[in-house]
Subunit: 272 residues, 2 copies
């Protein structure tokens, strides 16, 4: 199985940490404090990481496309461009492959989902978020998440989610929605509806093992006032994100990419 | 006594909340969720709020200059301009007043300090932060703070502070440093040094009263995993910021503004 994941968001929103947490593997090393003199790149770059992992007994070939520099400049006017070019180029590679006479040695490079990190301001989406979504939502399954959601109280999270959904609706932005099949068993239907009702997921990432007050060893972040637990559904939506991305809906993400998003791209390209 | 404070930082960093917390007064109403359709301004605007407050038995006439829109656009290239114009215009107003024959009815509008909110990424200063500091540090006492510092663990805060100080040093940016007078009593000297060693302050703001597990009623933020207390020095540097800004160093801020920053501006202006 392949999972090709596009990861986008401002620097410092915990993207590397979350990827390591999702796959329980140190795919991204902690950023060493670069000397203050080594300044960041002056534009958006595309960085690809590959790994073979096993998730729930299933072998997964993982490709993560990271986009350092996005939203980090003083002027972010074309931040989306290199990313859209990457999405398109992977579609083009597949189009070219499809047209070959000899089609063995198949490599599916299409991006199955875009994990987009929203800064936990508590207010609303930013113009840059909206601009990016508009450029990408018809080409990749967008899964927006509220980054570092331990910054927000439970009521702030509820309000923020409402506002984000309203912003998306106002701008006609489509985000990935798992399908609810009415002929499925009740438990599956309820699980899927519950996932959808929790969008966008408010997540926390950490690979550190911390001991809670009552002695359990958990992945979390330790503060003087308490320990936030990554895998605790009372504390954040991480387990739901893992569910969506790599347990129950991976097939749907890949299928929607091939059968809908790629086909629309191909038609658009061949029509020209 | 006058305190004229410039408040700068990206939307959603808790600036309004912090101002209300500092002066224990609802100077800024909580932003009502504006309909998603009412989008923010497309540039930086200058918004002034005045209030008379009493702090520790001292009457204070407070003027807060807020700068909505700063850092919120896709392109923030000239975000600093309207702010520098505001700083200059207040210097000009004083220059004009100084030259009057009849100088009663004195109103000191010069900005005594700029409270600059740094996003708690945990990485380093951003290009926009540095650009702003360079435009402003010779005109206003800069007091940078790490906003919403409850996002960071204690060790992350220490590292982040080190990195911010290194970034400032590398770019030759001067921030406000209270003076240590060697002939002062030991306690004052130690307090001042301790304040300086804590720069930049990592703060949390809240006007909500929460009950802690051990029954105390405190200002703080309530999370499922614990209560962070604003006025608890173990939890964040808020009390030190209040100390610097409105208790022990207000006079030094005003004096440095009149005797050094304004004089340098005046000389620069008259020299042309
Ligand atoms: N509060 C909070 N901090 C986090 C979380 N995940 C990561 N961090 C911290 O945020 C900082 C930046 O994380 P990093 O993964 O390097 O962010 P990236 O720049 O987006 O890749 C580090 O200090 C992390 O420990 C989270 O879920 N909550
Ligand atoms: N985690 C955290 N959240 C805060 C803090 N101060 C304010 N907030 C929350 O952050 C959101 C934005 O605060 P606000 O004061 O409106 O920010 P402003 O846009 O900078 O004026 C609100 O949901 C606040 O409750 C803080 O110190 N820590």
């Amino acid at each position: 199985f392949n999972l090709n994941l596009l990861v986008v968001g401002e620097s410092g929103l915990g993207k590397s940490t979350l990827i390591n947490t999702l796959f329980n593997k140190e795919l991204y090393k902690p950023k060493e404090a670069k000397a203050a003199a080594e300044e960041k790149t002056e534009s958006v770059t595309i960085k690809t990481t590959e790994a073979d992992i096993e998730e729930n007994g299933v072998k997964l070939h993982l490709t993560i496309v990271d986009t350092p520099g996005f939203a980090d400049q003083v002027n972010n006017e074309n931040a989306w461009k290199p990313i859209v070019e990457e999405v398109n180029s992977r579609f083009d590679q597949y189009l070219e492959f499809e047209n070959r006479i000899n089609r063995t040695d198949y490599q599916d490079g299409k991006l199955h989902a875009c994990l987009y990190f929203i800064e936990p301001t508590g207010h609303s989406l930013k113009p840059l978020d909206i601009e990016f979504f508009l450029q990408v939502h018809k080409k990749v399954n967008i899964i927006p998440v509220i980054a570092k959601s331990d910054t927000l109280t439970e009521s702030e999270i509820l309000e923020f989610k409402q506002r984000i959904l309203a912003d998306l609706k106002l701008n006609n932005i489509e985000i990935f929605q798992p399908t609810v099949y009415d002929n499925d068993d009740e438990e599956t239907v309820n699980n899927t509806k519950d996932l959808i009702n929790t969008f966008p997921f408010a997540i926390v990432g950490s690979t550190k093992e911390i001991q809670t007050k009552d002695g359990r060893l958990v992945r979390g972040r330790q503060y003087p006032w308490g320990v936030i637990e990554v895998d605790n559904a009372e504390h954040n939506d991480f387990v739901k994100l893992r569910d969506l991305l790599i347990r129950n809906f991976l097939e749907e993400l890949r299928e929607k990419t091939s059968k809908k998003l790629y086909e629309e791209y191909r038609t658009g390209k061949l029509d020209k």
